[in-house]
């Protein structure tokens, strides 16, 4: 069973992202499951970063830590990441020689064959492809595709660079590299969480995004801006996150589906806007791509530290939606659902991701686009005689129109208001308006998808997890079961409102989370009254992987 982990390391600016992406794409092109994630510092040049690529026969979209193949582009990164190399792993290196080392003089090859050091990364990508035992044709396809926009000269030089690296490494591989990955006739998607969210927003009919750049959320508006002509979407870089969320609310009031995206610090600035959306009953979708905090924290690493913050975001009491997708496909569908439900219930919806989901590339077979629901939840102005934006009714969902749609006037107010949207100090009416808004929660709860269960029927120990850690948690369950442990998992991706759900009794619960205080555990204890035995917590900025979870379960 093929399951290879490649670690590419180097300083920022050296191009490890290019190498990593090319070999992930090449493995995907060859018909294999590729999963890649990055661990990088918050700087543009220097430091020491890594790009990890897991290539497998079966879908395995979760991180591995130990390296089968390791390459470092500088000495500092070599020292830092070399301990990850397995005893029987292969080192690919510029100078070093020895057993289980493939020596490839990247710089010399780039200089002598192409006359330019710039091509050293493509030489390295060629060498790594050869070490992995992937056929040259797959790499060729990827090089043609990736560099096609840069002109024929660049394409042909990169092809030469890749071919030279490939040839050189393949000759040295004889009798050393154990892997052979024959081409398989399988087509996959290789896509990151941010890209899937951007496309999901498009599928969910989003026409407006305003955002302020903040790692790791920036990729969403960048993607939509790049394709704005094709998607006919308006994109704006706001002066700050307060402006961003208010712009999205303004656009939504004016009649289109709108969103914004940020990370914890920027989201904190948006919180008054979330409350505004709650009071004015204006739909808006907000992506919160988490990173380790408090404050600026670790800007480029991952964490799930904002669950309770997102759930409690916004002063006052009003209905709200919080989803935390587990992978890019789930992210795609969740954001479509968020747009639909936000409009149907006229509420703010928050999509919680993290740097791990936002930046990592996952392999997916199919997006199941036929599951996308395309419908509008706006009222029909022709069916209304006397329009009241905040009409009191049984469901709590008042008819929503937009200004300029018809002769009806659409009046919204952040103050407590009457049915027409005018400021009120009528305290009886205040109570009715509060109840009207809160009634929507109970209807919304009925639409929430219950958590995903894995192997819980005979389990004595059950992991509780949420969001992007799904695959790592499920992989840990599989491995622990192979060792005879009766372990199961319950994984949440829809967290507010929480669905009605019957938890298995008489089992030990462990929350598995990328935070220090077990936030999901606290939430489930307060909502369902279950008690958690222990938290398997990770808060060093790296993603949860199955080895870490197993270690945490077995050794505490």
């Amino acid at each position: 069973m093929i399951d290879i982990n490649v670690v590419v390391s180097g300083a920022a600016g050296q191009g490890i992202q290019t190498i990593g992406y090319i070999i992930a794409k090449t493995a995907s092109e060859a018909g294999y499951n590729a999963f890649s994630w990055q661990d990088y510092e918050s700087r543009i040049r220097g430091g020491s970063n890594s790009y990890r690529i897991r290539v497998s026969e079966d879908p395995a979209n979760s991180p591995l830590v130990k390296a089968d193949i390791f390459i470092a582009l500088d000495e500092k990164s070599k020292a830092k990441y070399r301990p990850l190399l397995k005893e029987d792993g292969i080192l690919v290196d510029e100078q070093e020689t020895g057993e289980r080392i493939i020596t490839v003089p990247f710089v010399d090859i780039a200089q002598s064959e192409l006359g330019d050091k710039l091509f050293v990364n493509t030489v390295a990508a060629g060498a790594l492809t050869a070490v992995m035992g992937i056929a040259w044709e797959s790499l060729k396809e990827v090089i043609l595709e990736e560099f096609s926009g840069k002109g024929d000269v660049i394409v042909s030089k990169n092809l030469t660079a890749a071919a030279e690296g490939y040839k050189f490494a393949r000759n040295s591989c004889e009798g050393i590299c154990p892997w052979v990955l024959p081409r398989r006739e399988q087509k996959h998607y290789l896509i990151s969480g941010n890209e899937a969210l951007a496309l999901g927003a498009a599928a969910g009919r989003c026409r407006f995004i305003a955002a302020y750049p903040m790692t790791p959320s920036t990729g969403i508006i960048t993607f939509l801006s790049k394709y704005k002509e094709r998607l006919k979407i308006f994109t704006e870089q706001a002066e700050d996150e307060i402006a961003a969320v208010n712009m999205a609310i303004g656009a939504s009031y004016a009649g289109v589906r709108a969103m914004t995206a940020s990370s914890g610090g920027g989201f904190a600035l948006m919180v008054e806007g979330i409350s505004l959306a709650g009071m004015t009953e204006t739909p808006v979708v907000i992506v919160l791509a988490q990173r380790p905090a408090p404050a600026t924290g670790l800007p480029t690493r991952t964490e799930q530290g904002d669950l309770l913050f997102a759930i409690n975001a916004g002063h006052g009491e009003f209905p709200k939606l919080v989803f935390a997708p587990s992978d890019p496909k789930d992210a795609f569908h969740k954001i479509v659902r968020a747009f639909n439900l936000a409009e149907k219930y006229q509420i703010p919806a928050i999509i919680l991701t993290d740097q791990h989901l936002a930046d990592s590339y996952f392999t997916l077979d199919d997006f199941e686009l036929d599951k996308v629901i395309n419908r509008s939840y706006l009222a029909n102005p022709d069916e209304i005689a006397n329009y009241k934006r905040y009409q009191l009714n049984e469901s709590g969902i008042s008819p929503m129109l937009y200004p300029g749609q018809s002769h009806h006037l659409v009046c919204c107010d952040s103050d407590e208001h009457d049915e027409y949207g005018h400021i009120t100090e009528d305290l009886e009416l205040r109570k009715r308006m509060v109840k009207k808004r809160l009634r929507k929660t109970e209807l919304l709860r009925k639409e929430i998808v219950p958590p995903e269960e894995k192997d819980i029927s005979d389990a004595t120990d059950v992991f509780l997890s949420w969001g992007s850690s799904r695959n790592a948690v499920f992989e840990a369950v599989d491995r622990l079961r192979e060792n005879g442990a009766r372990v199961g998992a319950i994984h949440f991706t829809e967290l507010l409102p929480l669905p009605e759900y019957e938890f298995p009794r008489d089992v030990n619960y462990y929350t598995v989370e990328s935070n220090a205080t077990g936030q999901l555990g606290r939430l489930l204890r307060s909502e369902y009254g279950i008690s958690v035995k222990r938290a398997i917590a990770r808060y060093d900025g790296l993603p949860l992987d199955h080895m870490y979870i197993m270690e945490g379960f077995v050794n505490g």
Binding site: I191, Y227, Y253, V372, G404, I423
Partner: protein, 287 residues
């Protein structure tokens, strides 16, 4: 044909009796009559403060949002539906204090909207604290020893950052104010009118203090001369000019123009659903 009664609102007015805000409201209504804008063609946007309650007293579409945040709401409405006449009504605390950053960047965006700032140089609704435009050394209900901060010169700020229409009016001169509003609302681009509105409850100056100092820019004043406009925008104290300080009639890129030129010219609400084929093709980029 639109008449002033068409804008009659049923909402109870919460302003102090005799407040110059009533004059501003009348001036806006008569400007809208002059421009024949129907209530459903108008969208007023406001934040928080006494001025920001104005949309409740003029029958039209409105979004009364959060303190300081009217401008980002308004620019988004304008880009989604350029056909609406979008007017922001705000005060000195709302626009220059809490919303100061949005004021700066909205000027840079140049959206086709009108900004009307009720400038009474004081916080009214919170009962008499200094605003960004309160004069130096003026004593207030919070700055007991007098204001220590230099007042903001918002018209100069707007001029420096390329605002193409900069004017100041006086709430006591309803006819003159209405004419200013008509000119501002007709202007294509960001039109900004700061309105002197003496606060009769908490103000640091009396109505007569203003009356003695206010003068209209003379007929021979060149409103295309930015340097002269800057000088006038800094003139405050013994004499206070009102009128159109600056108007740039040259074509200027406006917020959303690139999008309308290249991608879609119209109301974004008319775009409807995307074809599934578009999403399929976009996803194929990743295959």
């Amino acid at each position: 044909m639109v008449e002033i009664e068409d804008y009659q609102s049923d909402a109870e007015n919460q302003w102090c009796p005799g407040c110059p805000n009533f004059g501003i409201l009348r001036a806006i209504k008569s400007a809208l009559v002059a421009l024949a804008r129907k209530p459903e063609e108008i969208c007023m946007v406001s934040g928080i403060g006494q001025a920001a309650k104005l949309p409740h007293y003029l029958r039209c579409n409105f979004f009364n949002g959060l303190h300081g945040r009217a401008l980002p709401i308004a620019v988004a409405i304008n880009v989604v539906n350029p056909k609406l006449t979008t007017i922001v009504v705000t005060g000195d605390g709302d626009c220059y204090g809490e919303g100061g950053n949005h004021f700066l960047h909205t000027i840079r965006r140049n959206p086709n909207i009108t900004l009307i700032v009720h400038n009474n140089q004081i916080y009214g609704l919170t009962k008499g604290q200094a605003s960004p435009t309160t004069d130096l050394r003026a004593k207030t209900r919070l700055q007991f020893e007098g204001v220590e901060l230099e007042p903001l010169r918002p018209l100069a700020t707007a001029l420096l950052h390329g605002c193409p229409f900069v004017a100041r009016g006086y709430a006591g001169d309803i006819k003159g104010l209405s004419d200013l509003f008509v000119e501002a609302m007709r202007f294509k681009g960001f039109s900004y009118v700061d309105v002197i509105q003496p606060c009769i409850t908490w103000g640091t100056h009396t109505v007569s203090w203003y009356k003695e100092r206010i003068y209209k820019l003379p007929p021979d004043y060149d409103l295309h001369d930015k340097e002269e406009a800057l000088k006038k925008a800094c003139e405050w104290g013994d004499r206070i000019p009102i009128g159109v300080f600056y108007r740039d009639d040259r074509p200027k890129m406006g917020f959303g123009d690139q999008f309308r030129d290249k991608i879609f010219d119209g109301r974004l609400t008319d775009l409807g659903f995307r074809k599934q084929q578009t999403i399929i093709e976009m996803l194929d980029i990743f295959r």
